[in-house]
Structures are given as C-alpha cells and as structure tokens.
C-alpha cells in the first residue's frame, strides 16, 4: 500500500499540473492543437493509474481543456471516480468537473446517485455543499426523483449554509420532477420565516420563480410576503418579492390597492436603480397605473434623464409596456423619446423607434415623421437607415392608414424616401405607392403627377441601380402613370420618358411594366390627338412606338420580349388603320377599359368551392410516368400554374358552363369579400353617416398641383394646420347653427381648446380592403407549463410521497377512476376462458369504460386493451393491461426476452385527415427500435395506415432491449401530414416512450410450495418499506398491484398476501403485502421485495429496479396534444409491452 503511494508520488513528480498545462498552452501559441493532443495523451495515461491524486490532477486539467472547447466526454467515468473520492480536495475537483462536463444525456450520471446521496448526508458540511452545488448543474429527472427526499431533509439541516443551498436546489428539482413540489412545499413555506436571512432569501427566490410559472398557487402566501416586503431591507430580497407581487396582482386586484402605498414609498425612497425598476415594472403589470401614475412617471423621467445608456434603455422598455395599456400617458413624453433617436447606441435608438410606432396619432403623425425624416438624412450606416425607413412606412400605414389625414403629404414622403441612397427597401416604397394610389381615389391626380416627375427623373434613381433596390419604385411609378393616364398633365412627355433607351438597363420585371404601360399611355395619347382632327400627330405617336419598341423585343427577359412584340404588332396594325384615316382611338382604349380594384390578399380563400367540384381530383386520367416531366416548359412565367395546361382538356358542354357561371355570379353577389366591379360597395361606404362632410375635393385645390422637381413634404405640415383650423371653424359654425336651431342653452363643448382625436378628419378616404378575420382561438392550452396542473392546496395523496431511501416495489396508487379491478386481480389463474368471462362482467359493471377486444385468427394471442377516459383538463389518459393469456408464449421463449413489442394506438381527434405518418424513436444504448434491414439507424418507420377523422388504429413496433433492470425513456417524433379541404400541412409531434421496470414483468402464477422454496433458497435479497396514508380496502390494493405491476397473488390470509411475478428475462420477484393497523391507515410491508437475478447476480441492479418502480403509473401515460389552428389534434399514444 505504502509502496503504491510512493510509486504514485514519484509519478506525480513528472506530471504536469494545471499551472504547467496553462503555461504550456500559452507557450505553444502556434501549434496549440498539437500540444494539447499530446497533453490529452498524457492525461489518458494518468487516468489509468490507481493513485487518486494523479487522477484528480488529470481531471482538473481536463476541465480546463473542456473550457477551451475540447471534447472530454470520454473521461466521464473518471470524473465519477474522482467525485467519489473520500478526500475533500479531490471531491471538490470531481464535482467541479462533473458540473462543467455532464449534461442530461451523459450516461454515467446514473452511477452517481448513491455517491451523491452519501455526500449529501456527509457529516462535513463542505462535502454536502460541494455535492449540492454540483447537482444544481447536472440534475436529471431521475436524479431529482431519487434524491428529492434527501434534499428535502437537508432543508432542515442545522447549518444555515446547507439549508440555504438545499432550498435553492429544490427549484431545480421541481423543474425536473414536478411531483416533488407538493410534498416539499410546506417545508419550503417554513423556510420563508427561517432565522437566517440567507435561507430566507433563498426561499423567497424559489417561491418567486415558481410563482412566475403558476401564480395562482401562491396567492395564499401574499400576506406573508407583504410582511416580508415591509420589514426587509435587503434589496435582493425586495426585488424578488416585488417581482412575485407583479405576478400575483393580475390575479387578485385587491392586492394592487394594498401594494400602492409600500410601492410608492419604495419608489420615492430607494436609491437603487434596480429596485426602482422592479417597482415600476410591477406597477405596470398591476394595471393600477393611475393611482401611482404620477410617481412612476416622474421616476421614468429620471430614467430618461440619467446619463447611463442602461437606464435609458430600461426606461424605454418600461414605456413600451405602459404604451400597451395607457398610450396617452406615454405620448406626453414624445420629446424625450425623440431625443433618444440621437443616442449613440443603436439598441436604444431602435427601442425608441418601437415606441414611436405605438405613439402616433392623427395629431402628431406629421410631426413625428418629419423628425424621423431628419434622422434619415443624417443617419449613418445603411442598416439603421433602412430600419428608419421601414419604421416610417410602418408607422404611416398601420391599421389601414388610420392616422394619415393628408395623403398628398404621404405621397410626398414616399417620393422623398426614394432619394435615399443604397436602401434595400425599394419594393416597400413601391408597394406603398401602388396601394395608396389604388385605394385613395382622390389622390390619383396628385400621385400621377408625382410619378410622372419620378419617371422623368428616372436617371437620378437608376444612377447606381446595380446595387440598390430603389429602382423598384419605377415599377410603381410606371404602373400608376399607365393605369391612371387620364389624369396626366402631359401624357406625351411621360410616354417618351418611358420609352427611353436607358430603360433597357432596368431589371426585367420593371421593363415589362414599362412596356405594358407605355401601351396604355399610347391609348390615352391617341384618344387626345384624334380629337384634334390633326391626324399627323397621332401618326407620329404611332411611329414613336414603332421606333422604340424593337429595343424591348430584343430583351433577354422573356416577358418583356413577349409583351413588346405583341404590342409592336398591335401598333403596326393601328398605324395601318391610321393611314387609311380610320378612327381607332376608341377601340384601342377599349383594350384597357375597366377599373382594377384592390383585392385583399386572402380574398381568394373566401370564395367557396362550388358544390361538386373537387379541386384535387384528376380531371382526366393522370399522365403515365413515362411522359417525362422535363418536356413540359417549367413555369416560364412566374404565375403560371401547371394545372392550367390540364384544364384545356376539359370538355364541359355549354349548358353546364352557363349554369356554373350563373351560380358563381350568385355567390359573388352574396359574398362580402368579393369586390365587385360595380362601385356600389364603395358608395355604401362613402354614404356612411358621419363621413359625408369630409371635404374630399376642396383640399386638392389648396395644393399646388404642379410641383416643380421633387416635392417637399414639409409644406404639408403647414397646410394641414391651416386645413384643420379651417375645419374647426367650419365645425364651430355648424355647431352654432345647430345650436340655434335646437335652441339648447348648453355650454360650449367643442369650443377651441385642444382638439381631440375624433375631430381630425382625414382629407382623403381610403378604400378599406377587408382582411381576413383572424380566427378565434377558443381554448388556449397551457400544456407547456410544468406546474399548471398542480394544486398546492390540495392535501397530499399517497402517490405523491417522495421516494424514500430504501428498496421496495412501490405500487404507486395513482389512478383515480379505476375501482373495478377486483375480480380481475384476484384471478390466480389467468386462463383464457375465465378472463373472457370476467371481461364481460366488467363491461357490464362500468359502462363508461370502453373495452376493446381484438382476437388473433388462431386464437393463440388474445389481447385486451382497456381504456379509461379521465376528464382532466382536456387530457385523455389511457391505460394499459397485459394480455393475461400471453403467459404461455413467454415461458417457452425466455431467450427472446430481449425483445419488446410496443403497440401504439393512434387516434385522430381532429376533423382533418392524417396521412403519411412516420414513427421514429431516438435509440438509446439500451433500447433500440428494430428497423427493416437496409435502413439507417435514424430512419423512421412508416405507419402502415392513414387516419380519417375520429378513427383510431393500432400499429406495433418491435424494440430490442438489453437490460430490463433500468427504466428507459425514449424520445421520439411522429411526423404526419394534416390534410384539410383546402390545404395540407406537415406537422410534427414529439412524444416520449417510457419503459418502466414493471412493464417487463409478466403475470406468472406460482404455487405456494414453489414460492416457499424460492424464499428458502436464499438467492433473494430482501428489503421492506412502510407506506402510510393508504386508505383503500385491502383487496383493492391487491387488485391494483396485480393490475398495474403484473403481480399475481400466491396466497392470501386475512390482511396479508404474498405475491409473485417474473420478468421477461426470468428474474423472480416476490412480494409480501401486509396491513398493519385496521384503522383508515393501512400499511404495506413487502418483506421480500427482491429480484433474484437468475442470469446476473448483480444485486445493485436489482436495487435499482425496485427504486424505479415508483410512479410507474404516471409514466405509462403519454398524451400529446398539438394545436392546429382552431382545431386540436389529439393523438393518443397507448403502450403496452409484451414479448413474442
């Protein structure tokens, strides 16, 4: 022994320690990777030695390398070794390494359970502390479950140092193992009044974090926290308490009133910004804004004034929260916010911009946008400028241009924005121009004039068009000029501008619009010139077209080419007619007659599919495969749909066509979303009461129509002021008149004073295009929240007790609805005939249970699948049963004990058709999904059926399992296609498969003499556990054990029973259940809860199995839900396990 240590010490002399390693890495800057790889080799050698000091040194170095980004997962086991050293020095290093390197999928974590448990109960508080700290970083659901009880005990440790850590780590345990919350909560509550301030603050911390997830449970603690808040002076604790109240007040408005005073006091008295900020946040969350309003606002002003970017940022953040509920109170801080636009920090500027979006009103829009325009001019960096540009457009266009009173101003703003260099948002400006010009009829004259100027000055925009998107604006300009060419002052000039040779350098889609609209313009020009009786000018115009169009005919862009050659031929024909002195203008104009109306993007969706028409059905036989796809020209024009080519083949007789046309017309007439060519709908809108006094046309006169060069939007601000004044005066006059007529002597309501929002009337009317209504979410699921369904006030159920440190076959009794299993359970010989009879009986007994029986053709395998439907917050819980008749199969096939069949019932609970389902499970080392040969280890299995709505079906999957003495959780996904009438979407559903230990047990009958022999043999290890608070009849208890854990009763004498079961790999499990007292509390005391391993005599593993049996009931359920728009798709997974 001594020699070994000597040898180790000598070795150590030559080892590098951490400092050497760090130094070495710093000295090998140029070949760091090589140096480290030699270091890792050395470390591997060191880890092979027996000396723990050497190992600890190696692990310490590995931790450093891990931080540098090297993979050290291979050393996980060595880390566990160092962790389990009895010396604090090494233990500390081991736990540090573990906390840095382990994560949930690290296998060896399973091995640490006992070690951690030992350390937690160590007499040395630093051992315990180190273990707690480490655990906080790598706690897994399994660890949480197994150690919850130990940690709970530590919460009442004598040393505050341990109490404090234990309380804090409980939060991590709750997250991983929510079931532990209810049993641990009373003690956590006690800790709120712990004499040690550190423990107290830890408890406040944990409860505050919990309350953020589900505040409802913690309302009862409010008085206690209120006391703490008024007495505590620790800012850290205060912040947490105030945050907690922030979560509670929305649930309990009365709390808000009580909080006003202490919060106001804090806001006024505290010097800590962080506390102030938290108070303000809570005030905002509490909605009791007006009472504390003045105080908060003044403090917010402090936020704005203090010269710290952090505080400024938070102030803006808080304001944006206030803005949602009380926009008016923020609007008065407009100047402050505008100032923030000048800030050096971009994130502050962006925050301020966000705020502006919510702050605008009819009154201040022009002013705000004017300021923003100034910023656009001086902003450096294109990203920020682009951000500004989009924000300006967002602000102006929000809710159907609600805040714009003067669209001429808006058009000028848009035109000014086109002068921005290097912006990427040309298309945005363009779409705004188009939108406004189409929807605001009164603005067209003005818009067309502006667009004509733009087209004339196109060279300004296209100067560097290669790299910017601003030329997109020309797309809009050309279209507007063409479409509304009747408003053009000088169409001939514009036509020439559109046919300049330079146009050919523009992107193809813009050229196409140019060509098309040149034709429109041509029509207009022709009409004007023919009226003049001078035919030569008209012919000259045609000649101009014929001269210029060939340029476009040669274009590389197909669409430009097609349009140009089409129009060229047309113009040539027109020219011919002109030479014969035929009047053609009328007919040419007819080409472009009719008005284009705006249509909401989703309007098409609202047009119902005519009855009897199936859009997905083949109209004629689908083409055979040999008809090669690539022969078909693939979408030369972007909008062409492949289906069009097929409709050509339809042969529908005239009558049918006429009938359909009629039906369609009828539908269109009834459909409010279809915008009809007739102006009736718009007229209705304009005639709406209260709108008719809007002076739509008058205003146009007050604006100079001919703006030389590019317009300045500023002038509109002034004009707008004048207009409003005029309007107000007019209104007053009207009012007076009214008053005179009515002779009512009431006071002046609308007299001067600040004008209210409603008083400002827009100068132009926007055609509102109805957007599709948002679909109403009727029932929002909060299933993502862990603690939602936990009710802390409910008394503890037996099943929720934390696993105690001992071995047992814990029959967690947690299935609230079942009570009819008695007959089933007492059956000692599960034979086919009897089981069938019983099933019949049971069916009669509980009618709400649906029992489904499937029978194999040969009758060898009979399966009984039982469902219990629990109404539990939208959840349907399904349970399983072992087929009692399978016993015979298994006994003959013990070698096959490594295979498990999982039956999954897929039930479609939505109204859509589900198809192409693919089932995939992420294999673990222990359990693998058997896949057909040739498929990779990550391929999914196709579910061999489709599911129409409301239908359920069962699929089976085979898993290979290596060890059955540990529970398994496999993650998996199900992908499928949801098919609706009009669409089909790809959906994904994640689920977990739980393989618990008792699912590997098979109900096996055992005679009492064989049972006695087994016990006598001494192969079995025993342990016992006492459960309290079980208040159900003894036979029910037995029934449950039989039912859920697949035991069979060997012998029963009064309130004592011995039970037996066997695993698929042949392990014997014996169990003695005994009731100790005859009162309400019955106690179970399994004496031999043991697995004698037939194959492996590994006692540790058997212990493991026993522990893991706890709560299996909870785990066999897996309910996956997913929202799909309004519908819920429920797919219920239903597992049971069996061997071949």
């Amino acid at each position: 022994m001594a020699l070994k240590i000597v040898k180790g010490s000598i070795d150590r002399m030559f080892d590098k320690n951490l400092q050497d390693l760090v130094r070495g890495i710093r000295n090998h800057k140029e070949d760091e990777a090589k140096y480290i790889s030699t270091c890792i080799d050395e470390i591997k050698q060191e880890l092979k030695q027996d000396n723990i000091a050497v190992k600890a040194n190696a692990v310490c170095k590995l931790t450093y390398l891990q931080m540098l980004g090297y993979d050290v997962s291979w050393a996980a086991f060595n880390i566990v070794e160092v962790m389990s050293s009895s010396k604090f020095t090494y233990k500390r290093i081991g736990y540090l390494a573990a906390s840095q390197c382990f994560h949930e999928s690290t296998d060896v974590i399973m091995l640490t359970t006992n070690q951690i448990r030992k350390d937690l109960s160590s007499p040395n508080q630093y051992d315990t502390g180190v273990a707690l700290t480490g655990l906080s970083c790598f706690v897994t659901p399994d660890l949480a479950r197994d150690l919850a009880n130990d940690i709970m005990t530590l919460m009442s440790h004598t040393k505050p140092y341990i109490r404090k850590k234990a309380v804090l780590i409980m939060y991590k345990v709750f997250l991983k193992y929510p079931e532990s919350l209810r049993p641990a909560f009373p003690r956590l509550k006690e800790k709120l009044e712990d004499p040690d301030p550190g423990v107290q603050s830890a408890a406040v911390n944990v409860i505050c974090e919990l309350a953020r997830r589900n505040p409802k449970n913690y309302l009862s603690l409010a008085p206690l926290f209120f006391k703490l808040m008024t007495s505590s002076t620790n800012n850290w604790v205060l912040i947490k308490i105030i945050k907690l109240f922030g979560a509670l007040t929305p649930l309990e408005p009365r709390l808000g009133k009580k909080l006003i005073e202490p919060l106001t006091n804090l806001i006024h008295s505290t010097s800590a910004m962080s506390l102030l900020y938290e108070c303000v946040n809570t005030v905002i969350a509490g909605q009791y804004w007006f009472s504390v309003g003045s105080a908060s606002l003044s403090s917010l002003c402090v936020f704005g004034v203090v010269d710290s970017p952090e505080v400024k940022y938070l102030g803006l953040l808080a304001m944006s929260k206030i803005l949602k509920t009380h926009p008016k109170s923020v609007q008065s801080h407009k100047d402050l916010i505008l100032q923030c636009l000048d800030d050096k920090d971009e994130s502050i500027r962006l925050r301020a911009l966000d705020l502006l979006y919510g702050m605008v009103s009819k009154k201040n829009l022009m002013e705000i946008v004017k300021k923003l325009m100034l910023h656009v001019d001086k902003a450096e960096g294109t990203t920020y400028r682009d951000e500004l540009l989009t924000k300006i457009i967002d602000i102006c266009s929000q809710s159907n241009y609600q805040y714009i009173t003067n669209f001429e101003w808006y058009i000028s703003i848009l035109v000014e924005l086109t002068r921005l260099e290097g912006t990427r948002h040309g298309h945005l400006i363009a779409s705004q121009m188009l939108d406004v010009a189409i929807r605001v009829k009164a603005i067209r004259v003005f818009a067309v004039a502006q667009m004509a100027t733009l087209l004339d000055n196109a060279h300004l925009l296209t100067g560097n068009m290669q790299r910017n998107g601003i030329c997109e604006v020309l797309y809009a300009a050309a279209w507007i000029c063409g479409e509304f060419s009747e408003h053009l002052e000088n169409p001939m000039q514009t036509l020439e501008a559109m046919l300049r040779p330079k146009v050919a350098t523009l992107p193809g889609h813009i050229q196409a619009v140019y060509v098309q609209n040149a034709a429109k313009l041509f029509a207009t020009v022709l009409k004007a010139q023919e009226g003049n009786t001078d035919s030569t000018t008209a012919q000259e115009t045609s000649q101009l077209m014929i001269d210029r169009l060939p340029l476009f005919v040669q274009s590389a862009n197909l669409e430009v080419q097609e349009r140009a050659s089409c129009i060229l031929q047309l113009v040539k024909y027109i020219q011919k007619l002109q030479q014969k002195d035929v009047e053609v203008a009328e007919e040419v104009n007819a080409l472009f007659a009719g008005e284009l109306n705006p249509v909401a993007p989703k309007a098409q969706k609202k047009v119902p599919v005519p009855e009897g028409l199936d859009l997905d059905a083949w109209i004629n036989e689908p083409p055979s495969e040999s008809e090669s796809e690539d022969e078909q020209p693939k979408a030369i024009f972007a909008k062409e749909e492949p289906k069009h080519s097929r409709t050509r083949h339809t042969e529908v007789d005239e009558k049918e066509l006429a009938r359909r046309r009629e039906a369609r017309k009828q539908e269109q007439a009834n459909n409010p979303f279809y915008i009809k060519a007739s102006p009736s709908s718009q007229k209705v809108y304009q005639d709406a009461p209260g709108v008719e006094h809007i002076p739509v046309v008058q205003i146009d006169l007050s604006v100079p129509l001919k703006v030389p060069g590019l317009p300045m939007s500023d002038q509109y601000v002034k004009l707008e002021e004048e207009r409003r004044q005029k309007e107000r005066a007019e209104k007053k006059k009207k009012e007076k008149k009214k008053r005179k007529e009515k002779r009512s002597g009431r006071g002046k309501k609308h007299d001067s004073g600040p004008e209210s929002e409603e008083d400002i009337t827009p100068a132009h009317q926007v055609d509102i295009v109805t957007e599709e209504m948002p679909e109403v979410q009727t029932n929002l699921l909060s299933s993502n929240c862990v603690f939602v369904h936990l009710y802390l006030s409910r008394p503890l159920a037996d099943s929720e007790k934390l696993p105690v440190r001992s071995h047992r076959a814990a029959e967690a009794a947690k299935s609230p609805v079942e009570d009819g299993e008695t007959e089933n359970a007492t059956s000692l010989e599960p034979k086919k005939k009897s089981s069938k009879e019983k099933r019949e009986k049971k069916k009669d007994k509980d009618r709400d249970r649906k029992v489904r029986v499937q029978r194999c053709s040969k009758g060898r395998l009979e399966q009984q699948v039982q469902r219990i439907v629990l109404k539990n917050k939208n959840k349907l819980l399904f349970k399983n049963l072992f087929p009692p008749t399978q016993v015979y199969d298994i006994q003959g096939n013990l070698q096959d004990g490594s295979q498990v069949v999982v039956s999954v019932i897929f039930e479609n609970k939505c109204d859509s058709f589900l198809k192409s389902m693919e089932f995939n499970v992420l294999d673990s080392l222990n359990s693998k999904l058997q896949r057909p040969e040739g498929s990779g280890p990550h391929d999914g299995l196709t579910v061999p059926f489709q599911l129409p709505p409301g239908v359920s079906n069962e699929a089976r999957f085979v898993f290979t399992v290596q060890s059955i003495v540990m529970p398994q959780k496999l993650k998996g996904t199900l992908t499928f296609i949801v098919k609706n009438e009009d669409s089909s979407t790809h959906e994904k559903l994640d689920f977990k498969l739980h393989f618990t230990c008792t699912s590997y047990l098979i109900t096996t009958p055992c005679y009492s003499d064989a049972f006695a022999k087994l016990l006598e043999s001494g192969d079995l290890k025993g342990s016992s556990v006492r459960l309290e608070g079980v208040n159900m009849p003894f036979h029910h208890l037995l029934a449950r054990i039989c039912f859920h854990h697949h035991f069979s009763v060997v012998e029963r004498i009064d309130s004592c029973a011995s039970m037996y079961s066997r695993s698929i790999q042949g392990h014997h499990v014996c169990l003695l259940v005994k009731t100790v007292s005859k009162q309400q509390r019955s106690t179970r005391e399994p004496i031999w809860d043991t697995l004698a391993m037939c194959k492996t005599a590994d006692s540790d593993a058997s212990v493991f199995l026993c522990c893991k049996k706890q709560n299996q009931d909870l785990k066999d359920k897996s309910v996956c839900q997913k929202t799909h728009k309004k519908l819920y798709i429920h797919i219920i997974f239903h597992f049971y396990f069996a061997t071949f």
């Binding site: 001594a2 000597v6 010490s9 150590r12 002399m13 951490l18 400092q19 000091a53 310490c60 931790t63 931080m67 980004g69 997962s73 010396k87 604090f88 020095t89 500390r92 290093i93 540090l96 906390s99 840095q100 994560h103 949930e104 999928s105 040395n124 630093y126 502390g129 180190v130 707690l132 700290t133 906080s136 970083c137 790598f138 897994t140 140092y161 404090k164 850590k165 804090l168 780590i169 991590k172 550190g198 603050s201 911390n205 974090e209 953020r212 620790n234 850290w236 912040i239 945050k243 962080s274 900020y277 938290e278 970017p309 952090e310 400024k312 938070l314 050096k344 920090d345 971009e346 994130s347």
Partner: protein, 166 residues
C-alpha cells in the same frame, strides 16, 4: 440566470458556467455567437441586448468581459449588480485580481462563483459569508494536502521533491 461567460478582449473564453443543461455543441455555438456580438459593441453602448429569446447583460472589467444570459422577466440591473459583486469577490480573494489569476486558478474562480450563485440564483448576498465559506473549504483542502505530504515525506528522499512540487 441561464449561463455566465467570461472572455477576454481577444475572444478567448476564460470561464463558463451553465445553469441549463445543453449539449457541448450547442454551448460552443452559443459561446461563439455571443462573444462575437459582444465584442463588436462599442464602449459607450448599453450593456443590455436582446439575443434569441434571452436578454444578455455584459460588462467589461479591464480586459475581461463578464456576460450573463437571463430570461425575459429577470431584472437586468440586478444582474449587472451580480456581475459586479462577483468581480468584487474575485478581487478580495486574489487581492486585486487580474486576468492571469483567473487563467491559472480557474478552479478557484469556479469555487467562488459556486458559493455566490447556485443554480443561477444568488445564494449569498453577503460578501463576507461567501469569502468565509471559501476560506474554510480551502483550509480543509490544505489540511488534507498537508497530511498527504507528511505521509509521503516519511518514505524517503525522493518524496521531498514531491513536497516541493506541490
């Protein structure tokens, strides 16, 4: 708090503490992204930024950046306070701390952090208590080391070198 990173001006990671379980790959990706983002910011800029669905709070002390990720509802200012408190603790422990102290004694830096924060929450607000706990744990460690040395020292000449080495 979700995690804490310490890195140098050159972008070299000096310390990392994760309070949420993530795979190494994910951690590396996050680290790389964050180091880049934070280093790109100018000195006078705001210490907070939004990143994915988290809030990042960072502060620079000398050549080291301390960077924390917190959830949406957490208080940024108190996080800044936590960073500052940690720096103070390091300063007290090492005696005017510099980057090299943290590089060469990185395990000590972790121990201090673990005494100050647990599971992402501040566990001890008193500086004195944190340092006391660390000192006592160190004392315990040194005692064991000392015994080891004594024991090794009785065996022969060679082991004197071992003592020196330690």
């Amino acid at each position: 708090m979700q995690f804490m990173l310490l890195f140098s001006r050159q972008g070299k990671l000096r310390l990392q503490k994760w309070y949420v379980p993530l795979s190494d790959k994910e951690k590396k990706k996050i680290t790389r992204e964050l180091v880049q983002t934070v280093l790109a910011r100018k000195p006078k800029m705001c210490s907070f930024l939004e990143w994915r669905d988290l809030k990042i709070v960072y502060k620079r002390y000398a050549s080291l950046y301390f960077c924390c990720a917190i959830e949406d509802q957490d208080n940024e200012l108190i996080t800044l306070e936590i960073i500052h408190r940690y720096v103070e603790l390091l300063d007290k422990y090492f005696g005017s701390v510099c980057e090299l102290d943290i590089i060469f004694n990185f395990e000590k830096a972790y121990f201090i952090l673990d005494e100050f924060l647990l599971g992402g929450e501040a566990q001890e607000t008193s500086k004195k208590n944190v340092l006391k706990a660390i000192e006592q744990a160190d004392l315990l460690q040194e005692n064991i080391d000392f015994q080891m040395r004594l024991f090794a020292g009785t065996v022969g000449e060679v082991n004197i070198a071992v003592v020196v080495d330690q």
